[in-house]
Symmetry: C2
Subunit: 322 residues, 2 copies
């Protein structure tokens, strides 16, 4: 670890505190951790690049929240519990105010997700680049993988879909309107950790929705060697998205990214168990389709096949082909 | 982990192979690892930024070697053994040839250091940025920390110092001459893993020399609350540096960075044990000073105090004030 990290360390001391799992935190050549017995270590790395993954004028508090939430979401998708964070920041001569605000957002997000900052590196560059690595733990053999979906499984999604994409449309003035709810869903998505943990004994396969439902469900299908029927009427849509963009809501729910909800599959005869989880977590869980033996995704509307949207591509500023 | 990682995965398949410690490698939301019992996990993160830490025209094979060696060196300084690597690459529209050469260097370096690539993220940006995180293991309680130096300890360095800085002087035409040896010491430094492992039962404190001997020894002194006498005649210099730059060799040995040798302290009555380690590893180990109770570093030449070089600062292109 480099001395430059002192810069950011000064601001982050409150989130790199003592914890029995951390033998040595920031300030030596390495951090030293004590992993728990009978657990596997789940690791995910995510990079956000200025102008590619976030708008240059994003508020640094919101940037920190998005960075942490999107990283932790990968742990949720594995059924893992967050433990430790490292953060590599390439900064372009940041002001003290910027650093203080970024630090505030980071501190809040780390507290929220029970993450301890154990190290990182801070460097200078022309373009801001942030790489967060999150480390979580999951009991041996209990991780939720993409590869376990079985023909006949129900396909379920949490929350409502497309809201982050709609929030982005407001922020970029692609749509006119106001909705604090939708903007918050873009800036401060919620990683579904409690749901991931609840699904360890229930789901056959899971993924988080970072690139859009169709793309991420596609990852499950590819890894499991199966296909899917998806019922577009069943897609859970928020009141806010239906009010803002009724003509786009369905498409955004299918291919808008960065909702960071979970998409998972489970046997039909266990779908009834979702009700209790949904109530306990106060989180909608909606069956949106079934896993099939036939490869690929079939979209169905009123039981009839429907063409896939012209492009399901998604980039982080939402400029899919329309 | 994002789909963009497929780009680099295609090239790196050979280093992300099966290993009993890896339950799940690249291709799911997280990698899943099985840490060993009775070991602590040592983690270090290093970022290299184009134009800051490496010249834009560096050969991609050399870039990969430097990235891995400099990261693994932090494990060596803790006495840890390398296990797993994650790699976040921000690339600027790389050619297939660039990717293939970078992959070749990365594959070789990972084989050399017994590292398994378990995941990462690949993104696009205007400036190349590479963040490597290495994960190693060290028996519980045996890690070499910066904080254990005791007044009276001998201060020892491995190898020869300043060679990487001299190699850089050749590459930037700051000095005229030719020395494949010095250039290799810049491009492909050797992380001193076997030495770090041998020191677990011997050294009181250790650090790797990434920012220059004085700066890195300073980290030990600060962490341990002690000072040091350093004998400049004792500094180990290669024949190549003495031939290339006799007037600069001493200064480069004190403040040139990126040699990635180890600097460590041990009780005087155990210095005799170094002989056998040095022979077994075919690596010079040189006593260059002693730990003192008085804070700060005193440079001594022929037993007389000597002024510290005007600036001990080091940046990665070697532009210290001269």
């Amino acid at each position: 670890m480099h001395g430059e990290f002192d810069l950011i360390r000064r601001y982050f001391d409150t989130i790199s505190g003592d914890h029995p799992s951390v033998q040595l935190g920031i300030g030596d050549d390495c951090a030293l951790l004590s992993p728990s017995s009978h657990f596997e270590l789940a690791i995910s790395v995510d990079t956000l690049v200025e102008g590619v993954h976030f708008l240059p004028d994003i508020h640094p508090e919101n940037l920190a929240w998005r960075l942490i939430a999107s990283s932790v979401s990968d742990l949720a998708a594995m059924g893992a519990s967050p433990k430790w964070l490292t953060l590599a920041c390439t900064l372009n001569d940041p002001s003290k105010e910027w650093l203080a605000a970024f630090s505030k957002g980071l501190t809040e997000a780390c507290h929220n997700y029970s993450l301890i900052l154990i190290g990182g590196d801070t460097t200078s560059g022309q373009q801001q680049v942030f790489t967060a690595q999150v480390h979580g733990e999951v009991p041996v053999g209990k991780a939720l993988k993409r590869s376990g979906a079985q023909a006949g499984d129900a396909i379920v999604v949490s929350g409502t879909l497309g809201d982050s994409r709609a929030g982005l449309a407001l922020l970029t003035a692609e749509r006119e309107g106001e909705s604090e709810y939708l903007q918050e869903r873009y800036y401060r998505p919620t990683a579904r950790l409690a749901l991931g943990e609840a699904l360890r004994e229930l789901a056959n396969a899971a993924v988080d929705i970072s690139d859009g439902l169709l793309a991420d469900l596609g990852h499950i299908l590819t890894a499991s060697g199966v296909g899917a029927d998806v019922h577009v009427e069943a897609l859970p849509l928020s009141a806010a998205i239906k009010e803002l963009a009724p003509e786009s809501a369905e498409r955004w729910a299918l291919s808008g990214g960065e909702d960071f909800e979970l998409c998972f599959t489970l046997p039909q005869d266990r779908v009834f168990e979702l009700q209790q989880i949904s109530e306990r977590l106060a989180l909608p869980l909606t069956v949106v389709g079934e896993i099939t033996q036939q490869q690929g995704i079939a979209l169905l509307k009123s039981g009839e096949p429907m063409a896939l949207p012209a492009s399901l591509g998604f980039n982080h500023f939402g400029n899919e082909h329309e």
